[in-house]
């Protein structure tokens, strides 16, 4: 019994020893919070430029000490580093020659692709993103509009401590309120790339330059260095449209809204359109706050050709009129309803036209829908190969049911003298 007890005591020490093997202390980790992938500006085009944004432990008041930091670095709490390599994995290993700590990618939340890289095709980096156990499928993907991922890392976060968190919040919390971007995480992107009859989209991230307020003392200093006058801001602007693994173009705000209507991901936002004043017959601008929207995509074969039916059902509340003295009568509400539906239809048409005629890229997933509903037809016509050729000529019927239910806290507005 006593011997047993001694053995148990001795072996229980082994449990403590377990943590010693391959131990990595937290303070020896460089925790990357965002990953950027670019095409190198010069040199071999087969190479990739990988940049990382490392969270600095404790707010870094001493200013960004790293490379690639911009003028506004004094407020940055992240450190940007970049490395080139023949593959992503290689580039990340090369990064370690300039990173004094062990790079830890598990906690990255955002992956940014430079526009040039996206246009050149992401096929060569996808395998890394699938295979690496460090890259979580929850990572949000974005394309840096007209810039590189490396540049976007120099954006100063204003409301959060670090850029990646700001982007994360921007996409998941704020953007749905405006209905002009679409959050895509790595899993969705990979599925879009591999599924037949659907092309991928990624949100675009634009660097917006905001002038910094100048106090008279340093105005002269600022004029010497023009860059000092601007602060970089992140802005989500539209969507990047892919065809296969290559980015082929961009959707602007209106087209993005149209896209979101079709796929039923439009959650809130405002629409502005003109209606005719019931008495004076002059155009009056009306704004409607969207409260609810659903969309249904139906496919049908008529005369041996696929026809896509999009049914959009939406409700909204009256936001404002550009002219106060409009009576809220059933007839007026009907006008608003019609205008609302017309406006949605216009946005949808914009998105459809652009994708069908210009990009020839089925980002709506009509093909995937057709395959689900009419598998026989899909197989007979070998649409697996042909869908991209047929898609531009597909007839898409859009049916919008729009209802404006409420009018805010007043019925008729006050009358101006």
């Amino acid at each position: 019994m006593k011997r047993k007890f001694i053995y148990i005591c001795l072996f229980s020490w082994l449990i403590l020893a377990g943590g010693c093997w391959n131990r990595i202390e937290v303070e020896n980790l460089a925790i990357a919070s965002a990953l950027g992938i670019d095409k190198p500006a010069q040199g071999d085009s087969n190479q990739v430029l990988v940049s990382i944004l490392v969270e600095k432990p404790g707010e870094a008041e001493e200013g960004g000490g790293g490379r690639g930091t911009s003028g506004a670095s004094s407020q940055m709490s992240g450190w940007v580093n970049f490395g080139e390599g023949n593959s992503v994995e290689d580039a990340i290993r090369n990064l370690s020659t300039t990173t004094s700590k062990r790079l830890f990618l598990d906690h990255s939340r955002v992956i940014i692709l430079g526009e040039e890289k996206a246009r050149g095709g992401v096929g060569d980096i996808i395998d890394f993103l699938v295979r690496s156990r460090f890259i979580r499928l929850r990572n949000l993907l974005l394309v840096a509009s007209e810039s590189t991922a490396l540049d976007t890392f120099s954006i100063t976060p204003e409301l959060t401590n670090i850029f990646s968190e700001e982007i994360n919040d921007l996409i998941t919390l704020s953007a749905p309120r405006g209905a002009n971007t679409h959050a895509v995480n790595l899993k969705d992107f990979l599925i879009d790339l591999s599924i037949y009859g659907k092309e991928a989209v990624l949100p675009l991230l634009e660097i917006r330059k905001v002038p910094v307020e100048q106090s008279p003392e340093n105005a002269s200093a600022a004029s010497e260095n023009l860059q000092q006058k601007y602060k970089k801001n992140a802005r989500l602007k539209g969507l990047a449209v892919f065809k296969g693994d290559k980015m082929v173009g961009k959707l602007d705000d209106m087209e993005t809204k149209g896209f979101l209507w079709i796929i039923g991901e439009s959650h809130s936002g405002t629409l502005t359109f003109d209606i005719l004043h019931p008495e004076t017959k002059k155009p009056v601008q009306a704004t409607v706050e969207m409260t609810r929207a659903t969309a249904e995509i139906d496919t049908e074969i008529s005369d041996g050709k696929p026809v896509i039916r999009v049914k959009i059902d939406t409700e909204g509340n009256l936001g404002e009129f550009s002219e106060p003295n409009i009576p809220i009568l059933p007839g007026v509400m009907e006008l608003v309803d019609q205008g609302y539906a017309r406006n949605i239809r216009e946005q949808v048409k914009l998105a459809l036209n652009k994708c069908q005629k210009e990009f020839q890229s089925d980002i709506f997933g009509f093909g995937a829908r057709l395959r689900r509903q009419h598998l026989e037809y899909w197989k007979q016509n070998n649409l697996q190969e042909n869908w991209t050729n047929i898609f531009p000529e597909i007839e898409v019927q859009v049916e919008v049911k729009a209802n404006v239910r409420r009018s805010g806290v007043v019925l008729d507005s006050i009358e101006l003298r």
Binding site: V130, R138, K187, S194, I195, A368
Partner: protein
């Protein structure tokens, strides 16, 4: 008989659930969806047919020899030498399966958690645990299974509940996209995993009320379907066409869980529970190997050979494949023929022989009270 302990039919059911789910929770969605694509969930149901058949066949066999172990009655049925040969075949099957399980679990730990640890560490640790529980006996093994079972089942329920918001059921359609053939092919693997119920041939004599074994095993078969169906469906509904490409899709599901911003990265908890489940599975195989080998060799106690068996299995686990590609290739090339032979064909043959040679109870005139 070498084992003096007795377990209840319910405990036997638990043991068998672990035998199937211990590793199928990790690999099954990928093995089935590789063939059946998005119809993989159907394979779970399809595999139940041979499964239930096997349970009835085993019940038919043991009814005729209620108090005897398989080693002793096989000698009566087929003659001494052929009987020993079949038992040696079963031993080979069990040792090979044990090494496959051990390798799967070790690879899982290696790729998902500790890529820099030598694989030998996991193999040795798992086998030492298996040796320990084997030495403790069948009753202890059954109690361990009973203890882990609620945690194990809760872990699957949690995956389903925490991810239900992410499901996209449109990935499940169109049903039968590539016809029914791939679904039937895909059902082979769950059939093989369920076929591990064949271990009940070795354990059935140790039930305290053997006549209730059938009922409890059928219940456990239902539980397996109730676990595997949501898990497979969840993998497909979340990962869609990515499922066949993942190594451990259920684990990827756990990694994907993110709820209200902070319930996230809970993979280590699930890993702990699943490794405990895999440990029970290893324990069952380990135990059956030692028990049967001990009886074949005519030992007084099977515990003498626990460590030698462990050394053989440990070495085999490493030698079995130099890399993951070869290891994956073992599933279609070795596992399918071997398992079909020992899990389904052999019990059927034994049952057939019993009736052909007139060894069933009615013929022997002993009557059958049960």
């Amino acid at each position: 008989m070498l084992e003096s302990g007795k377990i209840t039919p319910g405990q036997a059911g638990f043991l068998m659930i672990f035998t199937v789910l211990g590793t199928s929770n990790l690999v099954m969605p990928v093995l089935t969806s590789r063939y059946a694509q998005m119809d993989a969930w159907m394979t779970v149901i399809l595999a139940s047919l041979p499964h239930v058949l096997l349970i009835f066949v085993m019940n038919g066999i043991r009814k005729n020899f209620p108090q005897e172990s398989i080693v002793s009655y096989l000698k009566k049925i087929t003659g001494k030498y052929l009987g020993i040969l079949i038992i040696l075949g079963y031993l080979w099957y069990m040792i090979f399966t044990l090494t496959m399980i051990n390798r799967t679990v070790s690879e899982f730990l290696l790729t998902s958690f500790m890529p820099e640890t030598p694989i030998e560490v996991f193999i040795i640790v798992m086998l030492l645990l298996g040796a320990w529980v084997t030495k403790a006996g069948l009753e202890v093994l059954a109690r361990v299974a009973t203890f882990i079972m609620p945690l194990f089942l809760i872990s699957f329920a949690l995956i389903f509940l925490l991810l239900v918001g992410e499901f996209n059921f449109s990935y499940l359609t169109p049903v039968f996209e590539y016809g029914s053939k791939p679904v039937i092919r895909g059902a082979i693997y769950p059939t093989l995993w369920r076929g591990e119920y064949v271990l009940m041939l070795f354990l059935w004599p140790y039930l305290n009320t053997p006549e209730q074994g059938l009922r409890s095993l059928l219940q456990s078969a239902v539980i397996i379907v109730l676990v595997m169906l949501p898990i497979t469906t969840a993998s497909i509904a979340v990962f869609g066409p990515l499922t066949p490409h993942m190594y451990f899709p259920t684990f990827a599901l756990v990694e994907y869980i993110e709820l209200v911003g902070f319930i996230t990265r809970i993979d280590a908890v699930f890993m702990a529970v699943w490794i405990a489940g895999a440990f029970v599975k290893i324990g069952i195989f380990y135990y059956c190997i030692c028990l049967t080998l001990g009886e074949v060799l005519g030992l007084k106690d099977y515990r003498y050979i626990v460590y030698p068996v462990g050394i053989i299995c440990g070495a085999l686990t490493i030698f079995i494949a130099p890399n993951v590609a070869v290891f994956e290739n073992l599933f279609p090339t070795v596992l399918i023929p071997m398992n079909l032979l020992f899990q389904y064909l052999m019990p059927l043959l034994i049952l057939g022989l019993i009736y052909l040679r007139g060894l069933h109870k009615e013929k022997r005139g002993e009557g059958d009270g049960v």
